[in-house]
């Protein structure tokens, strides 16, 4: 979070060269490299959960199959489409930022935010349903329909990974909202000054990418 917040500040105002960099090009290169490294740490953060998933799937294949089938595939698919589309608009925002079309940048980010909100709303209804029927992690599990060894673990993994992902959605939305407000008010994105848009968008792609792994793992296979 820190690196994205920092790079967001680092390019505030007109293309500004911090005193310790040799050139603006180097400065932007540094910001991008820092962001890539940060994204690598994010992937490793989720990798721990993926390992838990793989390990327990191997130990409890029946529970995993049953748990996976109990999820709402329709809304899961809708959510995936929503999130992938939001990544498209985020990528378009970068495209417009390079051309200095600040209004389009703002609109694209606004669309991304709307879709992100939609994603969270659908996720909320999915969660709500699970709280109702009792497919909850660990000792909170009270669903009578599925009783087998490891089934509570499936929902532990499900809730831990989707909640962590949802947290990242919220963080990504905050970053994009800041960029959107700037595109509408300061209107200073242009060919030399689009690092903030680019990094925010990169972060959003990560959020999307993690979901692209979570969706088949939890819903499909």
């Amino acid at each position: 979070m820190q690196s994205s917040a920092h790079t967001a500040d680092g390019t505030a105002n007109v293309p500004r060269l911090a005193a310790h960099f040799a050139s603006l090009e180097v400065q932007n290169h540094a910001a991008r490299l820092g962001m890539w490294l940060f994204l690598a740490t994010e992937i490793l953060l989720f990798a721990g959960l993926f390992v838990c998933y793989g390990c327990y799937r191997f130990l409890f294949p029946e529970a995993w199959a049953a748990g996976s089938r109990s999820l709402d595939l329709f809304w899961g698919t809708v959510n995936t489409i929503v999130l992938i589309t939001s990544s498209l608009t985020a990528a378009l925002a970068v495209h417009y930022a390079k051309e200095g079309k600040n209004k389009e940048v703002g609109v694209m980010f606004a669309l991304t935010l709307v879709m992100a909100m939609g994603f969270l709303v659908i996720k909320y209804f999915e969660y709500h349903h699970k709280f109702d029927i009792g497919t909850l992690p660990g000792r909170y599990y009270f669903y009578e329909g599925m009783q087998m060894p490891g089934i509570t673990l499936y929902f532990t993994v499900y809730f831990c990974s989707t909640a962590l992902h949802a947290l990242h959605v919220v963080i990504g939305m905050t970053v994009l909202a800041v960029a959107m407000v700037r595109a509408f008010t300061k209107k200073d994105f242009g060919p030399n000054n689009y690092t903030m848009v680019e990094l925010g968008s990169m972060y959003w792609h990560l959020v999307d990418l993690v979901w692209i792994f979570l969706f088949p793992m939890l819903y499909l296979v």
Binding site: F38, C55, T156
Partner: protein
């Protein structure tokens, strides 16, 4: 006078026509705010130094309490629960608050930009943020330790850690926050190495300390997120019983161990690789020779970082791992020994026929070499499955990692503290007291941990509160050694504080070192270099024939 040529007038008092306009970083702004909100890597390094020394003191006091408690069998000064909390606090403070940030956050922060001819690290504000993140995490951790106190040992193995009634969540949360500080520092240093090198400093002209910090940063960035996730899972598990690692709900505690050691084994190299880097600088400076086999040392740092990721299973030989896995992890563990041996041979090759100046940092280098070789060899022994099984969880393991990980790191920390003291503060310390305390510390360290090797080999398990009569002699010996060690540290604290206040000005380069960090003034001005872009025509530590170099102006 260009900075690069001024190297040759080593030892002369700092004299620069810009001096009046460019005060040293220490006096450029003297308000408390100018320190707390600084983005200068040097000031951040000094602030880290202050707190790291503070936490070292805390961890050290708890180490002494453990040793006093173990002086006699049965209760000596505390009850069993307090003892459990004490050794947990000792481990957590020493590892998360002292050793992991010790060399990278203090000396890495201070020296990296100087060694690369840069004005600052790539992200100065992120750098400051990492300092406050570290403090926040430390506050959470210590608050948790004081309010209830964790009793699981620093490894917080499940299922005990998820069921214990002591304060797990704040401590885990503190460790999670400190992880972010570590990641931020790592990202910052990697990007700095990639983008901030001065013209002329190619990858293979980077000082070896930079290589070591670079390798360390790679580990920090890649391994820390996993422990971050794990600490959160353990805290959640402890608060809400989700059952992720609870065998009663199908969870697998061995999975926890895998994830834990996936971070915590590379973390050992986060602690020791910067130590190797410091030693490469120190051995060159005080032997007045360029390092023997520069590329071998640089590559072996990366090699250790890489192989370190695939050796974690050797912590779990008795945890129900398959024999095949144990064999594979055993072999991969040996590879770390190969890379370390490459470094050791190169350091020794550097000293060979050098013009050795036996000053305090070099004394620590000698201690370091002993601890690395001795501790490393016991590590090879422990990496052998058949030997590890009887030694597992005995004092032999405690003594082993205190030799290689703690011993090597503390030797390097003290060596860098003395070697870079003039660089950081522009003052000289008393050389005689430096050597006396170095001798005390090296002797004290051996006196503390050699008995532990023996008592462990005789079968005394680690972390036990009580022990049979027959182990008492060795435990007394170990406690006596620890007192010697503490006494050595006390002397250092006295003379360095004295030097800081009353010490004579050291001049720009008292060691006549040709390391890149000495190109700038000592202490450096706020933006490190004054005037036009500095050039680095020669490789670091480019000394002429050592025989001639004994005479300062023979160049």
């Amino acid at each position: 006078m260009t900075p690069s040529s001024s190297l040759d007038t080593a030892g002369a008092a700092p004299h620069d026509e810009h001096h009046d306009h460019h005060p040293s970083y220490l006096v450029d702004g003297t308000t408390i705010k100018s320190w707390l909100l600084t983005v200068d890597h040097k000031r951040i390094g000094v602030m880290f130094l202050f707190f790291i020394l503070l936490f070292f003191l805390v961890g050290g006091i708890f180490a002494l309490l453990i040793r006093v408690e173990l002086l006699t069998p049965g209760p000596t000064i505390m009850d069993a629960m307090t003892y459990n909390r004490t050794f947990t606090l000792h481990g957590l403070v020493m590892i998360f608050l002292f050793m992991i940030p010790a060399i990278p956050a203090v000396f890495g922060n201070f020296m990296l930009p100087l060694m690369l001819g840069a004005k600052d690290v790539a992200f100065p504000r992120l750098n400051l943020a990492s300092f406050y993140i570290y403090l926040t995490g430390a506050v959470f951790m210590l608050w948790g330790m004081l309010n209830g106190g964790l009793d699981t040992g620093w490894t917080f193995y499940t299922p005990y850690s998820t069921h214990t009634t002591t304060t797990v969540a704040p401590v885990m949360f503190g460790a999670f926050i400190i992880g972010f500080s570590s990641i931020a520092t790592g990202i910052n240093f990697i990007v700095t190495c990639h983008t901030m090198r001065a013209p002329g400093i190619t990858w293979f002209k980077m000082p070896l300390f930079v290589w070591a910090i670079y390798a360390t940063s790679c580990i920090q960035v890649l391994a820390t997120p996993v422990i971050g996730l794990l600490t959160v899972l353990v805290a959640v598990e402890n608060l809400f019983s989700f059952g992720m690692f609870d065998p009663a709900r199908g969870g697998d505690p061995v999975l926890f161990q895998h994830l834990f050691w996936f971070y915590s084994h590379p973390a050992v190299y986060i602690m020791v690789l910067p130590a190797f880097g410091v030693m490469s600088e120190v051995v060159s400076t005080y032997s007045r020779k360029n390092i023997f086999g520069y590329r071998a040392v640089a590559y072996s740092s990366l090699g250790i970082a890489f192989v370190g990721f695939f050796a974690w299973g050797h912590h779990m030989f008795v945890s129900g791992q398959s024999t095949f896995d144990a064999g594979v992890f055993g072999v991969l563990t040996m590879l770390v020994g190969v890379f370390t041996a490459i470094k050791v041979f190169n350091w020794v090759g550097t000293v060979y026929k050098g013009a050795v100046e036996f000053s305090t940092p070099f004394a620590y280098f000698c201690g370091f070499l002993f601890f690395t070789v001795f501790g490393g060899m016991t590590g090879i022994a422990l990496g052998t499955v058949s030997l590890d099984v009887p030694w597992h969880d005995t004092y032999f393991v405690v003594a082993h990692f205190h030799f290689i990980m703690v011993g090597a790191t503390i030797m390097a920390f003290l060596a860098s503290l003395h070697y870079w003291f003039p660089k950081m503060f522009g003052k000289t310390y008393h050389e005689g007291w430096g050597l006396v305390s170095a001798a005390l510390i090296i002797l004290g360290f051996n006196a503390t941990f050699i008995p532990q090797f023996l008592v462990g080999n005789n079968g005394m398990p680690r972390r036990y509160y009580d022990y049979p009569e027959r182990f008492q002699a060795l435990n007394v010996a170990s406690t006596a050694g620890a007192s010697l060690l503490a006494f050595g540290f006390l002397i250092i604290a006295f003379y360095l504080t004295y030097a800081l206040v009353f010490g004579e000005a050291s001049g720009k380069n008292p060691w006549r070192s040709k390391g890149y960090e000495w190109v700038s003034e000592s202490p450096p001005p706020t933006h490190n270099f004054v005037g036009p872009q500095v050039t680095f025509p020669e490789e670091p530590h480019f000394y002429v024939d050592p025989k001639k170099a004994e005479v300062p102006d023979a160049v």
